[in-house]
Structures are given as C-alpha cells and as structure tokens.
Symmetry: none
Subunit: 243 residues, 2 copies
C-alpha cells in the first residue's frame, strides 16, 4: 500500500494567480488534492487557470470550504506552514522531516498555507499538530506561496519511488479531525456551563490553548470516543447503582 499524498490547503488565499501557480507546483510533483478555505475573491477565479500553465485538472477538482476545520475534517494529521515561530507549543518540522511524517501517516495529512501577505493566523495554527517551517536565509526570507507549496510537494515526492511503509502499522490511526472537533465542542460546552471561561476577554486565548492541548496527542477514534464517554459521565452522572 502506498502512502497517502497530502492535501494542500490554502487558507484565505488572495490572488487567483497564486492559486494557479500553487496548482502547477503541486502537479509537478504529483499532488492533486487542492482545498481552498474562504478564497478572498471567490471560486472559481478566472486568473487561476492561466497561471496554472496546464495544471487544470488540479483546479477543476479543487474544493472550497468555509473553515479550516471543515477543510481538514477527513484528515488525521494537520501541519501548519509558517515562517514565524508562534507562542504555541507545537513541534517544528523541516520539509524533509515533515515529508517523512506524511509518508508514514496511516491517514491523509493536510498541510495548511496562509494568505500571501500575512500567513496563517494563530487560530489556524492552533488546529495543527505540528508546524512545518522551511529553513531559510535568516537575513532574507521571501518565499512566495507557490514556492512554499512546491517545496512541500517536492520533498514529499523525493522518496516516493523508494518508499515502503513499515512504521506505525500496529498503531490505530489518528481520528479524522471532525471526531476530535466533536470532543472539543462537547468539552467547550461543559466548560461554558461551568463558568470556566472567565474573564470573557481571555476566552479566545483559553480556547486556543485547549485546542492545542487536545490536538497534540493524535488520539484514535476509539480513544476520542472513550474521552467523550468520560466527559459525558462526569457532566451527566447516573444515579448510584446497586450491584
């Protein structure tokens, strides 16, 4: 069985040209799963096609989502590309290490790329299990979107022919992201009812921290189910039983 190629997720991309160039960069190295989160100028974008230089098949199958969570719902691992380190406690991977991780992952990995000008927001990064950073000239870091996509695609493709997966086959795969989202929503509701989110102005930061803590483990579906069951038991205790 061959490794799952990663999904390339462009988060709030601004220019159609850059979407087209990213598609071209992907197809050069065999990637075809392009996902767009809230593209600024809508979709389809007439500027994308000419910039794709023939990679129309990638654009034709691109899917649009309203949120990052929707876009990665079927993925078991989420990597956030960023040049700046964040305050978040996530491991940072170089592209070759990330490619190795993608290659041995039992389910598809999503790789997030931020808007051209600003990069990913902290909220977007909080959904990720690791950061992907391209080691770059510290005095001149100026990769454009398509170039960053290309490096990830290139690294992924490098060992494709040689690769035979042998690692992690005895582990349960991480749950699809949507299942983890369900647990996070359940916990959030319980905390909200308990008056945990106080003061209100710190709530967004608190929610980011919670998300970081819970995306870190890479729990399997059965583990997420068990956690949901525990939380339900605590928040809705049954009457004492007599055995």
């Amino acid at each position: 069985m061959s490794a799952s190629p990663p999904a390339i997720v462009l988060v709030r991309p601004q220019l159609g040209e850059n979407i087209g160039q990213a598609a071209r960069a992907m197809l050069n190295f065999g990637l075809t799963d392009l996902r767009l989160v809230a593209p600024r100028d809508g979709w389809p974008n007439p500027a994308a096609g000419p910039a794709a230089s023939g990679a129309d098949v990638v654009l034709a199958h691109a899917r649009v989502f309203a949120t990052v969570a929707d876009a990665v719902a079927d993925c078991g691992d989420v990597l956030a590309t960023t040049v700046r380190r964040r305050g978040l406690s996530l491991p940072a991977l170089a592209p070759d290490t990330a490619a190795e991780r993608i290659r041995v992952a039992p389910v598809a990995t999503a790789v997030l790329f931020g808007p051209e000008r600003s990069g990913l927001e902290t909220d977007d990064v909080a959904s990720a299990t690791a950061i992907l950073t391209v080691p770059i000239n510290p005095g001149f870091g100026s990769l454009n979107l398509a170039q960053a996509v290309m490096l990830v695609a290139y690294e992924w493709s490098r060992k494709e022919a040689l690769f035979s997966p042998t690692v992690r086959d005895d582990l349960e795969p991480p749950a699809p992201f949507a299942e983890l989202e369900g647990f996070i929503a359940q916990l959030d509701a319980a905390l909200d009812r308990a008056g945990y989110f106080h003061p209100p102005d710190r709530t967004p930061t608190t929610r980011q921290t919670i998300r970081t803590i819970l995306t870190k483990p890479g729990w399997s579906s059965s583990e997420v189910r068990q956690l949901r069951g525990m939380l339900r038991a605590i928040t809705e205790p049954r009457p004492p039983r007599r055995n």
Copy 2:
C-alpha cells in the same frame, strides 16, 4: 573549511522578471553568485529589480559573460540542468545528489540553467561534467526557471548548519510523571463519583485504557495544570457570575 556555494549561471535568459525571481529564489537559500550569459534584453534589465522582491544585492553583483566557457572559467565543476536526457554520455544527478557533489567539491561549482522556452542547447550541455535533473511528474513537467533555481539552492542549503531550524527549542518538556499521576487520580475520582466504572470486573481494563490515553500526549506541566483546572471547573461548577 566550509563548502563553496555554487554559482548560478543563467544561459541566454529571456525575461528580466525571471532573472529577478531567480535572484530572489537564490537569496532565500543563501546563494549570491549570479552569472548571466548573453541575456536577451541586455543588462541591467529594469524588470529584474521589482521581481527580485528585495534580493537587490544579488542583482547588483551579477556578472555578464559572452559565453558559457567564460562564465564558468573559474569553476572546478559544471552541472547542466535539463529536463530532457541528451544523447551525451553524462551522468544524471538528482538535486540532492548534486548538492552533495557541490558540497564536497574542492572549488566552486557552476550550475547552468537554459533559456526559459527552450532550455540548454546541446553545445551548452557539452561544457558540463554532469547533468542535474529534477525528478518530476512524468505526465506534467512544468518547472519555471526560478523554481528550478530554487530547488537547486534549497538542496544546497539543506545541510548547511546555518539554516537548520531551531527545532523544539521553545517547547516545554513533558511534565514529571507525578504531575500526570495527580491528574489521572483527579479524573479517576470524578469518574468514580459519576458511576463511570461499571461493571466492576471491567474497571481494571478501563483504568489501563484511560492511562494509555493520557500518557500518550506528553503534556507539559502547564498543560497538565490547565487540564486539572478544566476538570475541577466541570466537577465543581461555580455559581453564575454577574459581570
């Protein structure tokens, strides 16, 4: 002694934009020695600067030569990038192998890139000691000049210690085990009060599973504290506040 960075030689480049983008791609990965052989529109080219996005230092020091032989006169090794195999009996190297060869070469290596439309002529390739080929999707090979330059620069920089990412330097270490034990005990008590451990004969297995789920993440001390706070909030809700 550190390895000599390669010279990037653009042979008969056509568009100033592409020369500028190549300079930008180079500087991202620490290369600065740009050489132009008979640029179609002369040199300097006013379109190059804006496309370089700040890599002006590379353009300012670019040197122009009439022939490939002149451009590589001071180099000890010459690699010709090409997507097509030629009739020439030269070894073909992937970018990572080429980068290793450049790194161990006792004198500087020149890497030749052909004109945008046509690539290197057979005459140009004949000056080279090896061919550098990017392994690309056989059904869609569409790397532009700057992207090809970037991959060579990227591969060269990969093992330069200078550019290694500072991995995990600001990651908090996992909490001492006793702290995690405290959280597990708190959760266990809450689950017990909630009647979760039922039937009794399955309780040891359930406790093992919970322990497996909670030791997996490697949470830091502050993360464990936050989790304990959440659990306390849920099990001991405060009265509603008035803000």
